[in-house]
C-alpha cells in the first residue's frame, strides 16, 4: 500500500487526469451529451477513493489505472442506459440542453470565421479531412495531391485553426497536459 507523501503525490497527480478522462468520456458518450461532466467527476472521485483505500499498489502506471476505471465506468453508464431500473420514473434526457446548444452554435460561428481565413488550398484539405472524415490517403486521391502534401497542408491548417480559434476552443488541451 502506498502511504504518506507518495499517496499525497498520487492524489495530486490524479487531478491532472481531468482533461484526459473528460476527453475520453465525452468521446464515448457523444460529444454534446451533458452527462460527460458528471461522469468525469465520478471517475476522478472513484480514483481518489481507491488510492486512499490502498487499492492502487503501483503495479501499473497511474494512467493505466485511471484508464481502467474510466473504461469500466463508461461501460456501466451505457449498461444503465440500455436497460431500465424498475424504480426509475423519468430517465434523464441524453440530448444537449439549452446551454450545450448555445455553446454548439457559438463554436460553429467561430469555426466558420476561422475557416474563412484559410487559403483555399488549406480549406479544401480541411473540408475533406475534417468535415468529410476522409483519411489522408483518401483526401490525397480526392484532391489529386500526394499524401505528403495532404499531411503538410493538414498540419499547417490545424496550426492556423488552433491559433485562430484560441485555447478556449480546445478544452482538453493547453498548459498542464504536455
Amino acid at each position: 500500500m502506498i502511504r504518506g507523501d507518495d499517496a499525497e503525490k498520487l492524489l495530486q497527480a490524479t487531478a491532472q487526469f481531468r482533461r484526459v478522462v473528460g476527453f475520453k468520456v465525452r468521446r464515448s458518450l457523444g460529444w454534446w451529451n451533458p452527462d460527460w461532466e458528471d461522469l468525469t467527476n465520478d471517475i476522478l472521485a472513484l480514483a481518489v477513493a481507491k488510492i486512499q483505500a490502498g487499492e492502487f499498489r503501483g503495479e501499473s502506471s497511474l494512467g493505466t489505472f485511471i484508464y481502467s476505471l474510466t473504461r469500466n465506468l463508461v461501460a456501466d453508464y451505457f449498461r444503465d442506459k440500455s436497460r431500465v431500473f424498475l424504480q426509475a420514473l423519468d430517465p434523464p434526457s441524453p440530448l444537449p440542453g439549452p446551454e450545450e446548444r448555445t455553446q454548439k452554435e457559438e463554436e460553429i460561428l467561430r469555426l466558420e470565421a476561422a475557416v474563412r481565413k484559410l487559403k483555399p488550398k488549406y480549406r479544401e484539405v480541411v473540408y475533406h479531412y475534417l468535415l468529410k472524415g476522409l483519411s489522408r490517403e483518401e483526401t490525397a486521391r480526392a484532391l489529386g495531391l500526394t499524401v505528403a502534401q495532404v499531411s503538410d497542408r493538414a498540419n499547417y491548417a490545424l496550426k492556423l485553426l488552433r491559433r485562430s480559434l484560441g485555447s478556449k476552443f480546445f478544452p482538453f488541451t493547453g498548459p498542464g497536459n504536455d
Binding site: F78, I108, L130, R136, F169, N177
Partner: protein
C-alpha cells in the same frame, strides 16, 4: 524531439476505424502519453465541431477538381461489387450487448388510463386506469407544475380524490397524474404516461 510511434494511430482512432483491441490499446497509451493526448484531443475537438457545424463551417465550398480517368474505372468496379452484394443474404443483426436481470424489464409496459383526462367541467371524483395482471398495489402521483399535490397507494385500479384535495384543484389549473403498478414483492410491473386534465374550461 522524437515522434511517438502511436501518433500514426491518431487519425484511425478519431475516425473510429481501429478494432476494439486497437482502440483500447491506443486509449491506454494516450492516458500515459501527454504528447499523443494533446494531438488527439486537439484534432478530436476540431472534428467534433466540424461534424456539428457541417457545411455551415464552410462559407465557400472548395472548388471541385477535375475527375481523373481512373476514378471512372473504380466507380465501374464499385458498381459491379454493389450488384453482387445485392444478391448476398443480409448480415445477421448483432445481439444486444447487455442482458436484463430478473428485476429489470424493457421500458414500455404501459398502463392505459381511463379517466380523468382533457378538459373537465368540475374537479374529478376519482382517478381510474385499466387493471394490470399480477399487480398487488398501485402508486398514484398527482402534480401541478413542479409541485406534487398528492400521492397515494391503492389495491384497486381506481382511487377516489379526498374532498380537501378536490377543493384545491382550481378552475383553469392544469394537473398531471400518473400511476405505477407493483407486484407483491415490490417489483414495478408497469406505469402510465403522464396524463393531464384541466378543470372548469
Amino acid at each position: 524531439m522524437t515522434r511517438c510511434r502511436f501518433e500514426d494511430e491518431i487519425e484511425a482512432y478519431l475516425r473510429g476505424s481501429l478494432d476494439p483491441e486497437g482502440e483500447d490499446r491506443f486509449e491506454e497509451h494516450y492516458f500515459n502519453c501527454p504528447s499523443c493526448f494533446r494531438l488527439t484531443a486537439e484534432r478530436g475537438a476540431l472534428r467534433e465541431a466540424f461534424k456539428a457545424g457541417g457545411e455551415k463551417a464552410f462559407p465557400a465550398r472548395p472548388r471541385p477538381r477535375p475527375v481523373p480517368g481512373w476514378v471512372y474505372g473504380a466507380a465501374a468496379a464499385a458498381s459491379l461489387i454493389a450488384a453482387v452484394l445485392l444478391f448476398l443474404p443480409p448480415p445477421r443483426p448483432k445481439p444486444l450487448p447487455f442482458t436484463f436481470s430478473g428485476d429489470e424489464t424493457v421500458r414500455g409496459a404501459g398502463i392505459a388510463v381511463v379517466e380523468p383526462r382533457g378538459s373537465l367541467p368540475a374537479p374529478p371524483g376519482r382517478l381510474a386506469w385499466e387493471p394490470v395482471p399480477n399487480a398487488a398495489r398501485y402508486e398514484v402521483v398527482l402534480t401541478s407544475g413542479q409541485e406534487t399535490l398528492w400521492t397515494t397507494e391503492t389495491k384497486d385500479p381506481e382511487v377516489g380524490l379526498p374532498p380537501d384535495l378536490k377543493a384545491r384543484l382550481q378552475e383553469g389549473g392544469v394537473y398531471l397524474w400518473r400511476v405505477r403498478a407493483f407486484a407483491a414483492e415490490g417489483r414495478m410491473l408497469a406505469f402510465s404516461e403522464k396524463t393531464s386534465f384541466t378543470v372548469g374550461r
